[in-house]
Amino acid sequence: MSLTDKDKAAVKALWTKISKGADAIGADALARMLVVYPQTKTYFSHWPDLKAGSAPVTKHGKKIMAGVAQAVAKIDDLSSGLLDLSELHAFQLRVDPANFKTLGHCLQVVIATMYPNEFTPEANVALDKFLSNLALALSERYR
């Protein structure tokens, strides 16, 4: 389900509207994922605090969104554009790739709460496709 030109335009248009709030989106999505899908907490056993608003969650939410921003910038070639991040996730973090879909869903829920008028069904399908392709690119180096 590769990205058409229409999808890329829609993703970039949505990103323009939401990127100023990216840090807040990232922090909420991560905190939310840890609560709604508690099995994801297993990757963060080294954090003293997993609650929404805590320092590690806020800081890491920012990092995640920096990755999303990188993906938006490299939307024409996600596999090569995200190679460094793929190697990080594959060899060091070893996050089960099924979780990429989970976090992607949480990101979309947060965007829906914060930008309900912008997150139309058309924007939804483009973003969902983009996040699926992002996840695929992140899985690139796993095996």
Partner: protein
Amino acid sequence: MVKWTDFERATIQDIFSKIDYDVVGPAALSRCLIVYPWTQRYFGGFGNLYNAAAITSNPKVAAHGKVVISGLEKAVKNMDDIKTIYKDLSVLHSEKLQVDPDNFNLLADCLTIVVAGQIGAAFTPEVHAAFQKFLAVVVASLRKQYY
């Protein structure tokens, strides 16, 4: 037997008392047909589903969206025995409608996004978790009679 905490019970009742069924039902179904277009396979008799605008303004989609959310209301009113309440619905979806049950998760995700859009900041992680659990029970109950 599913165990609900007081918070979860209260949250589910609260969400469904706040949302406008006539808006949320149609919005969730049409979003599902748009975001996951292969789900359109079950709605061959609904006429024009050619693009997002057509789907959103399609009266049959809107009517059916209301049917779906009324079905969910049954579960909201009988949270302690959704499995039994949904037995006939499960047989219907399996035998007559022949819906791939993986599609239930797709519609559930779209419903979550629509409800999140309606409720906004009040859709906290804890509220979201309760809603997610409720939908998981609904989906499991709808899958129960498949064989």
